[in-house]
Amino acid sequence: MSIEAKTKIEIDHLMVSASPHIRCDESISKIMWSVNAALAPAALFSIFNFGMPAFVNLVICIVAAVVTEYLILKWQNKPMVIGDGSAFLTGLLLAMNIPATLPWYMPLVGAIFAIAVAKHTMGGLGFNIFNPALIGRAFILASWPIAMTTWPISRDMVGKVDGLTSATPLGILKLQGYEKLVATFGDQAAMYKSLFLGERAGSMGETSAILLLLGGIYLIYKGYIKWQVPVVMIGTVGALTAAFGGDPLFHMMSGGLILGAFYMATDMVTIPITTKGQIIFAVGAGALTVLIRLQGGYPEGVCYAILLMNCVTPLIDRLVRPVKYGARR
């Protein structure tokens, strides 16, 4: 075929669309699967830590979330996007936010609720105003409060405490005070070490500060989350607990704060869009966490703090806008 002919044949096939004509190679799937990967070490640690029950609940949450999403997309005749990793992520995050010993039907219902109600009644990915995993968790907590506050002891606590269940460190603090809390771990240094490494009772995936931090740093490095959000939220909790006479280091490492600050307060769908707005969001979430922990009825406040701040996201977005070109002269 001559060159001339080669330039002629293609005419019918040329695609016409608006500029620009090149795109970067980022995609929703790439972002979502990266977050899943970042969470993987802490999730695997939960299986190591709490054993078979953790594995079962992890699988139930993820499968229920993905299947629910599949059925809803199918029913609504929407593009089949279950492979994008967002439903998988909701299931994974929900699992990390519940005790390992929860009977199987509770996480199942929670995951279905998270996807069906928190995500799809609002229009699906991008349209939900609340973090679906946190809504799932709040739903389980409201429905089965006792099961949701009964914590299996971790592998490393066997022998250190009586029985097979234990209060979380925050629970001990709330009910028995700081001295008893420190005594549970031995001394203060041992307490910090246990919290940092994850040797404590708590929700499945929230215990290991170090693994959650490593995953978070990976996401910051990839540019999928901004460092400002976790740093400001955790910093706010530290500063406020110190101001009210608490142990800031303890509060910064306990409960679901690190998990929440790195993986849920950074959920791009439900937080403000500008960095400035996100910092306001993080300060608010941190302050509400401290308020609930120190003054509220619950020992832990991260879940509700983030959900409550999700409510004001649209307001923050309206008030905090980028500085327009031409605004400086």
């Binding site: 016409v16 004509h21 791009m268 980028p322």
Partner: protein, 440 residues
């Protein structure tokens, strides 16, 4: 430290395909298709008829309005057709088809010799108008209009936009390397017309050779300074360029002249130098023919009216089926539906993009990741503009989200992980607002 602006993106620029390829002079095509509209503004009317024998540089279509620019024959020969032909910007356009006689003979009196220093500003402006100068960066705004700002807008600075921030394009780069003296002459002429003593040449740092050559060409000439700019798209957008070089922002809805600045493209000032010193009208230009589907990417000096197909043939044809053919750069260029469109005065590049070059993907809902907000050089919220367009809330976009400040640079679309066609939505919203305003 090279100067920069807030926002912007760093696409892989792919300039390596052609950056080291010297400008090649294309042979005279057997036939040229010259549209009578090659600029923003009113179309011209043909003043030749079928059968006329015409010479190179002869006026073949006359401007009827102030914002318009005459069209000249790009070679000598016979007018064989006056008809609607495909046009790279306007779909179709009345065009003068000239069959070349192979002589390439100049119209009487051309080229001439003239010393620009002896000419008055008004005379130069008239030459620029008569020779059909338009902005050759792609916008094709008639140069004589830009060079004649109203008296109440005093101009103090001239900027030569040599950023060439569009990926793939190297035409300006090559012109700088090969014709630096012509550029400096063009800048001096432009400064004289505008009556300014300060001129800047802004070049992105990814062209260190061009910076060196231009610096050398400017030594000993008062008032012209080469400014290295950080390599970042859209460094060469008029507003960001002015913001970076002058530290002054063009006000919303305003023009560069509102802050006393006139910006011209590299190709334009070279054409101005040729027009003023030799009387040569705008009948040819340097165009980068490139992209993943082109066999031998090149920088070509092409006659206006050469078809894209001819230009592609000069570059060895295609190596694979192109998915898209673009006039201009990949960020702001226009997709073409046929290769039968001619090169016009604003054709800075012809891109044949392969499947691998184009990463379109199905469009997903916005996940509010904020990348577009960070990339927007104008400080807008592109995600919101696209969402409002989806909801048909065009007037909200205009009134509350500064729709009209968008320069359509495409940075937001480039970074969007949901592959949203934000610029498309914005163009739609602008059109809808214009239609609403027209109805009132």
């Amino acid at each position: 430290m090279a100067k920069s602006f807030r926002g912007g993106v760093h696409p892989d620029d792919r300039k390596r395909y052609t950056a080291s390829k010297p400008i090649e002079i294309a042979p005279i095509p057997e036939k040229v298709i010259i549209p009578v509209r090659q600029h923003i503004g009113a179309p011209c009317s043909p003043i030749v008829k079928v059968g006329d024998l015409i010479k190179k540089g002869q006026v073949i279509a006359e401007a009827q309005a102030f914002v318009s620019s005459p069209i000249h024959a790009s070679t000598s020969g016979k007018v064989v057709e006056l008809a609607e032909y495909p046009h790279p910007v306007f779909g179709t356009c009345m065009s003068v088809v000239i069959e070349s006689d192979g002589q390439d003979e100049w119209v009487e009196g051309l080229p001439l010799q003239r010393d620009w220093k002896t000419l008055e500003a008004a005379e130069i402006k008239e030459i620029i108008r008569q020779t059909g100068m338009v902005g050759m960066g792609g916008a094709t705004f008639p140069t004589h209009v830009k060079m004649a700002p109203p008296a109440e807008k005093p101009i103090h600075t001239f900027i030569l936009n040599a950023a060439e921030c569009e990926p793939f394009l190297t035409a300006d780069h090559r012109v700088m390397l090969e014709q630096s003296e012509r550029i400096v002459t063009g800048v001096q002429i432009a400064m004289k017309v505008l009556g300014v003593s300060k001129g800047y040449i802004g070049i992105e740092e990814n062209k260190p050779d061009a910076i060196a050559v231009m610096n050398k060409a400017c030594t000993g000439i008062d008032g012209i300074e080469v400014v290295p700019l950080q390599t970042k798209y859209p460094q060469g957008a008029e507003k960001t360029l002015i913001g970076v070089i002058c530290g002054t922002d063009v006000p919303s809805g305003g023009l560069p002249m509102d802050v006393g600045v006139v910006v011209q493209n590299v190709g334009t000032v070279v054409a101005i130098a040729d027009a003023v010193e030799k009387g040569i009208p705008l009948i040819e230009r340097v165009t980068t023919v490139t992209g993943g589907a082109i066999a031998q990417p090149k920088n070509l000096l092409l006659r206006i009216g050469t078809t894209f197909a001819q230009a592609v043939t000069l570059c060895g044809g295609f190596t694979e089926v192109p998915v898209k053919v673009i006039m201009g750069g990949p960020m702001m260029g226009m997709a073409q539906r046929t290769l039968d469109v001619p090169i016009i005065k604003g054709t800075s590049g012809i891109l044949a993009l392969s499947e691998a070059d184009v990463n379109i993907g199905p469009e997903r809902p916005c996940i509010r990741c904020g990348r577009c907000v960070e990339a927007c050089p104008m400080g807008l919220v592109p995600s919101m503009l696209s969402i409002l367009a989806e909801r048909d809330a065009y007037s909200v976009a205009k009134e509350e989200y500064d729709l009209l400040d968008c320069v359509e640079c495409g940075s937001c679309v480039y970074v969007c992980p949901a592959k949203r066609n934000i610029v498309h939505y914005i163009k739609l919203s602008k059109a809808q607002n214009a239609a609403m305003a027209a109805k009132k």
